[in-house]
């Protein structure tokens, strides 16, 4: 073990450590809607200065805390693990807390809108109930038969790996609300629910695969997917959603999983 690592390895590190904040002026163009005031949504611009290393969430806080307290959005963890703040930023679904200003061209107005396909309740807040309902509908819990073992159920590292990717989901809805099929028909389960089902179907400990597959075989199930890859591109957890959906489709045909 050496200490050689501390020769400054990259200019990225030097950048990260430099505390000289060079502020830039940004314009945030936000889709506002408050049914207590009007039934029309409008665009509103906010201009202010910010360090481009900050997050879009920091910018929204700056607006809410310094400029307009009525701006409404959900957030909690501020580092991409709670799934509260999926929104459309410059036309793409992202988490506001995982998007740095410098990564989205601060020199042009930055547009922020609620995610699509779910009813807007106020500003960036949408009704998440249908989204969670679809998730609940796929029976997202381990189903087993027979007596419980006294110790843990065994699972090989390889079997564990089989469904690792889909365990990462934080239920942010970035995928489902970027899916054109879902926009057109809110009955479609949507990618997130299928991800939730995949996580159990491919878990070697689970015995409910058949039941879940039947649910997804429904007319609003996996067959509606048109493989547009919007979901995969939108997922802030980097889950290969389209691949997971394809695996579920294949399992429906072969009944092997």
């Amino acid at each position: 073990m050496s200490s050689a690592t501390l020769e400054k390895n990259s200019s990225a590190l030097a950048d990260a450590e430099s505390s000289a904040a060079h502020l830039v002026t940004v314009t945030f163009r936000i889709r506002r809607f408050n049914p207590e005031i009007s039934d029309q949504a409008i665009w509103e611009d906010f201009q202010f200065q910010i360090d481009p290393k900050e997050r879009v969430l920091d910018a929204l806080h700056k607006i809410k805390w310094d400029l307009d307290g009525t701006l409404t959005f959900r957030r909690s963890c501020a580092h991409g693990i709670c799934g509260s703040d999926a929104m459309r930023i410059n036309g793409r679904n992202r988490l506001a807390c995982k998007t740095l200003i410098k990564d989205i061209n601060p020199h042009k107005p930055i547009t922020v809108e609620p995610i699509k396909g779910l009813t807007v309740l106020k500003d960036l807040v949408v009704d998440m109930e249908p989204f969670f309902q679809a998730y609940r509908d796929v029976m997202p819990f381990l189903i087993t038969t027979g007596n419980e073992p006294t110790r843990e159920r065994q699972q090989s590292a390889e079997d564990r790996k089989r469904f690792d990717d889909t365990t990462k989901c934080i239920l942010c809805a970035a995928c489902t609300s970027s899916c054109p099929v879902f926009w057109n028909d809110g009955q479609y389960f949507g990618p997130a629910a299928i991800v939730g089902a995949h996580r159990f179907i491919f878990d070697s400990r689970d015995e409910g695969g058949e039941q879940r597959l039947e649910i997804l075989n429904d007319r609003d199930g996996v067959w509606r997917c048109r493989t547009t890859f919007n979901c995969t591109e939108a997922c802030p957890r980097g889950i290969e959603i389209t691949k997971a959906i394809q695996e579920v489709k294949r399992a429906l045909i072969t009944r092997r999983f």
Partner: protein, 584 residues
């Protein structure tokens, strides 16, 4: 105003709340009120793991775990509770596995385990592999698994309901819990929940610090609600500063990174922990490592242009190991710092992390009204509570354990109580306090802004009651907080509406933070010793003669309406472990 009636009401849907809900829903009619959607709770942020002496990968037993917990807590731990924690750890991990939690596996298919700070073999001989984990998203997997099982059990949730008041009725001179009052975010409507049993599982209060690993929503609402009703808060001066937060942002980089072999280095590249903790080195307990980091910084060996941080070095670990074991935190470094942890060390500093103190309970989760009287019908579990299994300093991986062990216990105890007990009559006009609070803030034309007061609070807390404290710094904090509380009376919000008025709720949350910050500072001022997370430069050693006891802080309102804090003390439960000097 709407009135609801349930046997059991649970406040909070993090790990503790949902673990309790799974038990109590099976036994009693239960409602879970939560200000966040359950899966948004901060349990999901936990990374490193959950301790249990499974002995899957090397020799281990619950007695060693008990000892480490007590020693880690600098002997302020109630030893009976620690023993329960360590014993029930094993079943509580196995229960989660059976519920579906995808733990990482050993080559033989059992739950894999890794090292974590302060957990040792045979009373401190060497680090032991005790932490059960799922990559570096153990908390995420616990939260998901519990939520999934709540769906399976049909748990009834009231999402985005903020509990703002605890209802207490005195019956024959005994304070009993009658229910809670909640504010519905979507509509602004106020709801009274009458319940035979109430369980607080509303999490921590780290947002009174600026650099913190805690979510924006961790504002101590539960602690504040019961405190305001005259119930005590225990050991609030003990707050844990986790050694490795991302510099300036506070985002946590799990101790598991050091468990996997990561090393802390100063600007000379020196592995400085060797000096401070020759045996456990980088895996000494958190208070020790955080103080060591600040000592390096104060003595001029910090990194960066301002010498205000040190490095967490993972560059000697194989990229495959980082990808398999620490994917999320390496991703944080890339996203938020723009650096590649395969090749660059990560700038870190201690970050305010965990409240050891909270609402005092016994081992059944029953809330205490004083040193030994319980409040019938009132329970608490998780970070909001103080059992006390963490004493003056919590060991890593013992909180995910705590929420499961004591969440389950509280869920069972509350539901069993509720099935036998009668409803306690609601006080007259039960929602009055909340209605008054909401209306005052909404109608206020005051000139003070939430954001400025909150910023000032966080700055004074970081500057004065963080890793190093002295009489003078704490007094500065107490005065500053007092002045901010005055200013808070004159605060107003811009959003006057009913729907999703988060402006209003942030103002209410700030009020809670101010109350709790004051309790913390006042408790810290009175504790003239150093123990665990509470380090007084003017009293640098532990003083078992005068301070081997828990602080109990009560809110008092004088006849003139003036509020003050009264401090009392409660003995520590000691069973078999004699206090020793703590060395790592």
């Amino acid at each position: 105003m709407k009135i609801h009636k349930y046997d059991t009401v649970i406040v909070g849907a993090g790990g503790a709340g949902m673990r309790a809900a799974i038990e109590s829903t099976k036994r009693s009619r239960t409602a879970v009120l939560t200000k966040l959607y359950p899966t948004r709770s901060h349990t999901g942020a936990a990374q490193g793991g959950m301790a249990a002496a499974l002995a899957n990968v090397e020799e281990d037993n619950w007695e060693w775990h008990t000892f480490d917990t007590i020693k880690g807590g600098d002997y302020l731990v109630d030893q009976d509770a620690a023993e329960i924690l360590a014993k029930e750890a094993i079943d509580s991990v196995l229960d989660l596995e059976k519920m579906g939690l995808p733990f990482n596996r050993t080559p033989d298919g059992t739950i894999d385990q890794r090292r974590f700070g302060g957990h040792s073999r045979n009373h401190g001989e060497a680090p032991v592999r005790r932490s059960c984990y799922a990559a570096d998203r153990t908390g995420h997997m616990i939260l998901q698994t519990l939520y999934q099982n709540c769906i399976k059990e049909g748990v009834e949730f009231f999402n985005e309901f903020y509990v703002l008041d605890q209802l207490i009725t005195e019956v024959d001179g005994v304070k009993r819990s009658a229910g809670v009052v909640a504010y519905e975010l979507a509509t602004g409507e106020i709801h009274v929940f009458q319940a035979k049993a109430v369980i607080y599982a509303s999490g921590g209060c780290g947002k009174f610090f600026k650099v913190t690993s805690n979510a924006h929503t961790l504002t101590g609402d539960g602690q504040a609600a019961v405190y305001r009703r005259g119930l005590p808060l225990e050991d609030m001066e003990f707050f844990q500063f986790h050694p490795t937060g991302i510099w300036r942002m506070g985002i946590l980089l799990t101790e598991g990174a050091r468990g996997e072999g990561g090393i802390l280095r100063n600007k000379d590249g020196e592995r400085f922990m060797e000096k401070y903790a020759p045996v456990m080195k980088d895996l000494a307990s958190r208070d020790v490592v955080s103080r060591s980091i600040y000592t390096e910084i104060r003595e001029g060996r910090g990194c960066g242009p301002e010498g205000d941080h040190v490095f967490l070095d993972l560059t000697h670990l194989p990229p495959e190991q980082l990808d398999a074991k620490l994917p999320d935190i390496t991703e944080f470094a890339r996203t938020y710092l723009g650096i590649e942890p395969y090749t660059d060390p990560i700038p870190i500093q201690p970050t305010a992390h965990y409240a050891m103190g909270g609402i005092p309970t016994n081992v059944q989760g029953e809330v205490l009204a004083d040193n030994d009287t319980v409040v019938p019908g009132l329970y608490a579990a998780g970070e909001v509570a103080c059992v006390s299994v963490h004493g003056a300093n919590r060991l890593g991986t013992n909180s995910l354990l705590d929420i499961n062990v004591f969440g389950r216990r509280a869920g069972i105890a509350a539901a069993e109580y509720a099935t036998k007990a009668e409803y306690v009559e609601l006080p007259d006009d039960p929602a009055s306090l909340v209605v008054e609070q909401v209306e005052r803030l909404r109608d206020s034309t005051g000139t003070e802004r939430v954001t400025e007061i909150r910023k000032a609070l966080q700055e004074t807390m970081d500057a004065n009651v963080m890793v190093f404290r002295t009489e003078q710094t704490i007094k500065t904090a107490v005065e500053a907080i007092g002045a901010l509380r005055e200013r808070y009376l004159n605060v107003s919000v811009q959003d006057k509406g009913k729907r999703f008025n988060t402006d209003l709720l942030e103002a209410i949350e700030l009020g809670n933070l101010l109350d709790l910050a004051e309790v913390m500072a006042v408790s810290a001022l009175a504790r003239k010793e150093s123990r665990g997370g509470h380090y007084r430069e003017d009293y640098p050693s532990r003083d078992d003669v005068n301070f081997m006891r828990h602080t109990m802080a009560y809110r008092e309102v004088g006849a003139d309406g003036v509020e003050s804090i009264r401090l009392d003390y409660k003995p520590v439960v000691q069973t078999r472990y004699e206090p020793m000097e703590r060395k790592y």
